[in-house]
Subunit: 448 residues, 2 copies
Amino acid sequence: MASLSNSFCVSPSCDRGVKCSFSKLRRIPIGDRNLVSLRSSPVRIELNRNGFSGLNPRPMRGKIWATAAQTMDQSSTKTASSAPTIVEVDLGDRSYPIYIGSGLLDQPEILQRHVHGKRVLIVTNDTVAPLYLDKVTEALTVGNPNVSVESVVLPDGEKYKDMDTLMKVFDKAIESRLDRRCTFVALGGGVIGDMCGYAAASFLRGVNFIQIPTTVMAQVDSSVGGKTGINHRLGKNLIGAFYQPQCVVVDTDTLNTLPDRELASGFAEVIKYGLIRDAEFFEWQEKNMPSLMARDPATLAYAIKRSCENKAEVVSLDEKESGLRATLNLGHTFGHAIETGFGYGQWLHGEAVAVGTVMAVDMSYRLGWIDDTIVNRVHAILEQAKLPTAPPETMTVEMFKSIMAVDKKVADGLLRLILLKGPLGNCIFTGDYDRKALDETLHSFCKS
Amino acid sequence: MASLSNSFCVSPSCDRGVKCSFSKLRRIPIGDRNLVSLRSSPVRIELNRNGFSGLNPRPMRGKIWATAAQTMDQSSTKTASSAPTIVEVDLGDRSYPIYIGSGLLDQPEILQRHVHGKRVLIVTNDTVAPLYLDKVTEALTVGNPNVSVESVVLPDGEKYKDMDTLMKVFDKAIESRLDRRCTFVALGGGVIGDMCGYAAASFLRGVNFIQIPTTVMAQVDSSVGGKTGINHRLGKNLIGAFYQPQCVVVDTDTLNTLPDRELASGFAEVIKYGLIRDAEFFEWQEKNMPSLMARDPATLAYAIKRSCENKAEVVSLDEKESGLRATLNLGHTFGHAIETGFGYGQWLHGEAVAVGTVMAVDMSYRLGWIDDTIVNRVHAILEQAKLPTAPPETMTVEMFKSIMAVDKKVADGLLRLILLKGPLGNCIFTGDYDRKALDETLHSFCKS
């Protein structure tokens, strides 16, 4: 089928797969220090036709992390806790670093080295602004009197991720007479990052931008990889651009102010990385979920770093989502239907993704592609994370079907899905599945 | 001055310039024929520090055109008049052809080879739709039953080049359940091309698109080079994207239905190419303007082809407008101020550009950079084209200044302009000029 030519398969039964190997550590100078970064992008991609070891480079990754921890201990910086780990997103001339660590917003040199012109526009929301706007403004301007900072504070929530709200960013940028050399800074969660990124992509046909994600969801997923955009009343993220930031600054201290429900929502994406490509990470999560829920700083930092590494690797291999990158959308097609059908903002994105993941796993099991232990483990870990595992009662089969029909992964009329196939940590992106299984899944999760 | 580092200078007195040489003819297969194309992109860029021969590769160009004409005569196609000339825009993996000729919309294979998926959305307006929508739909679908075509008809005019109208395109695309493999087709003038292109860039983060420009303005300028976007109430084209089409199809027959005022408006851009980089073309226009105004087909076709060649060459050298490409905006900074200040749609774009050109030439003369024969020749040719040479009486110096302050060519607060410098066919893009000359020009063209 011609329409399947774009499907991407990552499973033991597939004859095409991508195996990655990690590269060496790299020194990146920041200010007056040298920090060791994790270069998580692959230096070698192997396509093997027979027998497939999966996308998860387990042995190498373990080694890298041990080395990183060692290096952090041996760091010559004043406080080891404030030295960021750097995950590099390798995209040729659009490559950029993700800085991860505690207290990064107190290190002005990190932000300032990525601001090129004299004007900055911070885009944030009315929840985050009272907490961090002054701090970020200070970080951008301290010892840097030539830079002037404007800000625009949007209403908080997914339901405002629309064209009307986006126009407020353009209005502010234009009224402030910002020019092509300005920098937009996204300060907030995924909604702010997506909107600010799309505004940066579109303002004067493209200006610099920087992501400062303040939620787990944004830190492990949405701020990395350059997907930007807004919702349309008929579907999520239907209008947008691929547009990469200059850098991403993840200050883990910002999670101290995050509500419990938002925290758990972000874990839905962390769990996703384990399921689609990193079984060892999933197993680690099974052991450490209580610690993550209790916001243990070291456990959170590890989960964020490992998630960013997974995402950076996938994005480096497939920036524009011609295949592999789509696997990051496990659970998202069902999840988007819930967000759209139930009304944006009723559920958090990660809550909808959690249910979507359960539905995708259910369908994978009905297709005979995974065994029931995976089904049970997915239920168990989501329950540990206090995430929902069934859609809202108002969602009907017809609502799912009609909303999923406008999903971006539809190709020439065929809905392609990310499903699990094989042992834990393997998935497939395909439109080649029995429609009956999809119907059965929808009926088993909906009352009508 | 750091802020001048982006200025680009093309003049005999400048120590930096770009000299281009043209490359050979190239065979491009279309359907079952082989056509000879003009590959106008440079194969060699020379920066010379002393003595500068200008950007206009006169001797080579003349030779190429002779060869092209010859080839057309020797063509093996049924009717020589229907064989398109092809100007290639050389942008690496985003390269695309501009097909120019009579009756191209009657040659379905040209359009069909650039449509990849099964779904097409034609974006047009209520003036062009009654004239050409059926014809283009036929060209897309004849002998091609797998392709289905939707269309959205927007109100005609620059004043509708806004976010509200753009949303109608997204609404139609989403309601029609178009997916990532669809193709958007812009059928109309510059406004339609810019809006359809930006919609294509943004819909599902980017889908294919094709330009079918139906005005001189769009055929010689706006459809080529990938600048897309919409206006903001505070300025023109402030929101948009660089996004290249799959191809541009210029059917010169569509000019038969173009109103006189629209025809003349397009000539403002044709004249621009002569002034900034192609003195020989300007001299040709001085001789042939009566023939152009009388819509002589061969004269029109030559003006379009040579304009596209100039534009393709500039865009190939500087896609994202880091310097050279800005020279295509001669007269546009003043012109945009007129369009914004006087209200979008009151004047046609080319009419505003014509006045802007006169103002830029006036300022260049006040700076002592050109002699008065150029000033007189610019006035004369614009009058031949029945284009205005003075702004509307309601425009004040303050209106010009405040609107020009948000121009995209402002860098760190400094307004950079394209001005003529040296003999005919040479220009400079710079912020390094005496402010007094700008003030004098504004005061001499405004009553208050």
